[in-house]
Symmetry: C2
Subunit: 327 residues, 2 copies
C-alpha cells in the first residue's frame, strides 16, 4: 500500500484547494493512505484521515535557513514525517515555495546513496496528435552540473517517464545547440560520451529546443540552469500566445461569435496545454518521493500532484534508483 | 551613402526570392547602393546594379573548411567583396547556411579590434500591446563564453537595439534562473558584477525566460549555448501552438466560420509573430555589417534583412563598436 504525507497549508489558495485535491484523489485511489499536515481546526472537516498538527508556514521565497528554523511549519513537519522510519511513508507533497521545499527535501530526506545530485523534473505536453508528455530535467535544482550528473539525470528521467506515463523504453536526448553528435558545450559533449555507453537508458543523441514538443523525445536532459531557462521560456511564450489568442477573440462581437463556433477545438487545445494536468515538479534522487505542486494549485492541480506521487510510489521509483546507482 | 553586398544565391527559394527582396528594398531605399553577387544569367533582369559573378554555392550545413575551399561560391565572394577596402562597402547579406556565413564573416571580415568574440543577434516581437522587439544575444555564435564577453554583448545589443528599433536607452538584462541579484551560474554572477559597473549600458539586473516577451527588457544577454536553446525553444513553442490554433479552426464547418469571424485579430497576431519581419540574425563584432537572412527567405523576409543591414550601416554601428571597445 502507498502512504503519502500531505502538506495541507502550502498552497497560495489556502487549505480549501488542498482539501478539494485530497478528496478528488481519494475518490480515485481509495487504497492510498494519506496523512494530512496542517492546522487542525482547518482540517476538522477532513474525517477519517491521520493528521499531524502544524500551525506555521514557510514563506514562498524562504531558503534553507528558514526551513531549518521553522520547526512547526507544515511543510517542514510533512517532510520530517516522510523521513521518519516509523511512519513507513513513501513520499511527501507540498504546494509551498520551491526553494524551501527543495532545501527541506534534500536536507531532511537526504540523497539516495550513489546519487551525485538530486534533480527537479517537470513534464510538458507534446504538441502532437498522439499527445503524451516530454519529461525535462534538471529544471533548476542546480546551477551547474557535471557530465556524470547529467548521465544520472537521464536514468532518473527514464524511471519517471516509465512510472508516470507508462512509456516502456523512453527516448532520451540531450539538450544541445544542434542535433549533430559533436554539438554542444564541453559539458554536454562529455555527457554525450557517457550516455552513449550507458546501457540503462535509450539514448538517441542531441535535441534542439525547437524539437522538444514535437514528439521525437520522451526525456530531455540538461543542466539545471539551461533547464530553468527552457522551462520558463516555454511557459512565457505559451502564456503570451494564450493572451494574444484571447485578445483576438475579444476584439468585437463578430470575433466573440467566432469563438463560440470554434470553441470546442480551443478548449481541447488549452486543456492539453494546461499546467494543472502535469501536477507540478518532482525532486528525484532523495530518499523518498517529493512532489512540489504548483503554488497556485486548485483542487484539480493538487490532485494531479498527488497522482504523480502515487504512481511513483506504486512503481517503486526510489527503490529502483537505489538499485540502479548501487551497481 | 550606404553600400551593401548581397549574396543572391544563398536562399532555399533561389534567386527569385532574393531578387524580389532587392526590388522591394530598393523601392523604399533608392539611395542605398547594392552590389549583387551570383550567376550573371540569373541576374540578367536586374538592371542598373553593379554585379559580381559567382557560379557556385556552399551547402546549408557547410563549415569553415568548405567556406575556405569554395572560392567561387556566391557567399564567399560576397563576404570577400565586403572586406575589400576598394569596394568601400558597409556590409554583406546572405540567406545561406548559418555556420558557413559565421565562419566566412569571422575569417574574412575579421574581428573589430577590442572585441573578444563576435556574437549572433536576433530579435523577438514583444507580446505586449505596445509591441516592439527584444534583442537577444548571443544566439549561438559561441558554445561557451566568459563574463567579459557577456559584458561586451550587452553593449553590442544596446547599439543594435538603438540603431534598428530606435530605442534611446534600451533596458539590458542578463538571462538567469531567477531575478534576484545573487541568482545564476558563476558565469552570469561574474557578468552581473561587471555590468553593474558598466556605464555604457543601462543594466537592470536579471531576467527569467518567462519575462522575455513581456516588455520589461529590450536587450537580453546570455552565453551562446543558452541563447541558442532559448531561441529554438521559443520558435518551437510558437510553431507548435500555431499549429494547434490552425487545427482548432479546421475542426469542422462551424469552427471554419468561427475563423472567418475572428480572422482580423488572428491575422494581426500572426503578423506580429512573423519571423519574416525581424529579418534573420546578425553577426556583430566583425569589421563590417553581416546579416544572415532566413534560409527559407521569401521576398518580404529578404527585404527585412536588407533593411536591418541598412539601418545598422546608417547608424554607423561598426564605427561605434570600434570606438566603444577602443576606450
Amino acid at each position: 500500500m502507498v502512504k503519502l504525507i500531505v502538506d495541507m497549508m502550502g498552497s497560495d489558495n489556502g487549505s480549501a484547494a488542498t482539501k478539494e485535491g485530497v478528496r478528488r484523489f481519494k475518490k480515485n485511489h481509495p487504497d492510498c493512505e494519506l496523512v494530512l499536515v496542517g492546522k487542525l481546526d482547518e482540517l476538522a472537516d477532513m474525517e477519517g484521515y491521520e493528521k499531524i498538527e502544524a500551525n506555521d508556514t514557510v514563506g514562498m521565497c524562504a531558503g534553507a535557513m528558514e526551513v531549518l528554523r521553522k520547526k512547526d511549519a507544515s511543510m517542514v513537519k510533512a517532510v520530517r514525517a516522510a523521513a521518519d522510519p516509523e511512519m513507513h511513508a513513501d513520499g511527501v507533497i507540498s504546494a509551498g515555495g520551491t526553494g524551501a521545499f527543495l532545501s527541506a527535501a534534500t536536507l531532511i530526506l537526504k540523497k539516495v546513496p550513489g546519487v551525485k545530485r538530486p534533480c527537479l523534473i517537470t513534464a510538458f505536453p507534446k504538441l502532437t496528435d498522439e499527445g503524451g508528455y516530454v519529461t525535462i530535467l534538471d529544471c533548476g535544482s542546480s546551477n551547474e552540473n557535471t557530465a556524470e550528473e547529467l548521465q544520472q539525470f537521464a536514468y532518473m528521467g527514464t524511471l519517471y517517464n516509465q512510472a508516470v506515463y507508462g512509456v516502456e523504453n523512453p527516448v532520451v536526448k540531450l539538450v544541445a545547440n544542434g542535433t549533430e553528435d559533436g554539438k554542444g558545450t564541453p559539458l554536454t559533449r562529455d555527457a554525450f560520451a557517457l550516455l552513449k555507453e550507458d546501457k540503462k537508458v535509450n539514448f538517441q543523441g542531441n535535441v534542439e529546443g525547437n524539437q522538444l514538443l514535437t514528439g521525437s523525445v520522451d526525456v530531455a536532459v540538461c543542466d539545471g540552469f539551461t533547464g530553468n531557462v527552457l522551462l520558463k521560456t516555454t511557459e512565457g511564450v505559451a502564456k503570451g500566445m494564450g493572451n494574444e489568442i484571447k485578445k483576438a477573440f475579444k476584439r468585437n462581437i463578430f470575433s466573440k461569435i467566432g469563438y463560440l463556433l470554434a470553441k470546442k477545438g480551443f478548449v481541447k487545445f488549452t486543456t492539453k496545454m494546461n499546467p494543472k494536468k502535469t501536477g507540478g515538479a518532482l525532486l528525484l534522487g532523495v530518499n523518498g518521493i517529493a512532489v512540489k505542486a504548483h503554488g497556485n494549485s486548485d483542487g484539480e492541480c493538487f490532485e494531479s500532484a498527488l497522482t504523480v506521487a502515487y504512481k511513483l510510489a506504486l512503481n517503486k521509483v526510489v527503490q529502483k534508483l537505489k538499485e540502479g546507482f548501487a551497481e
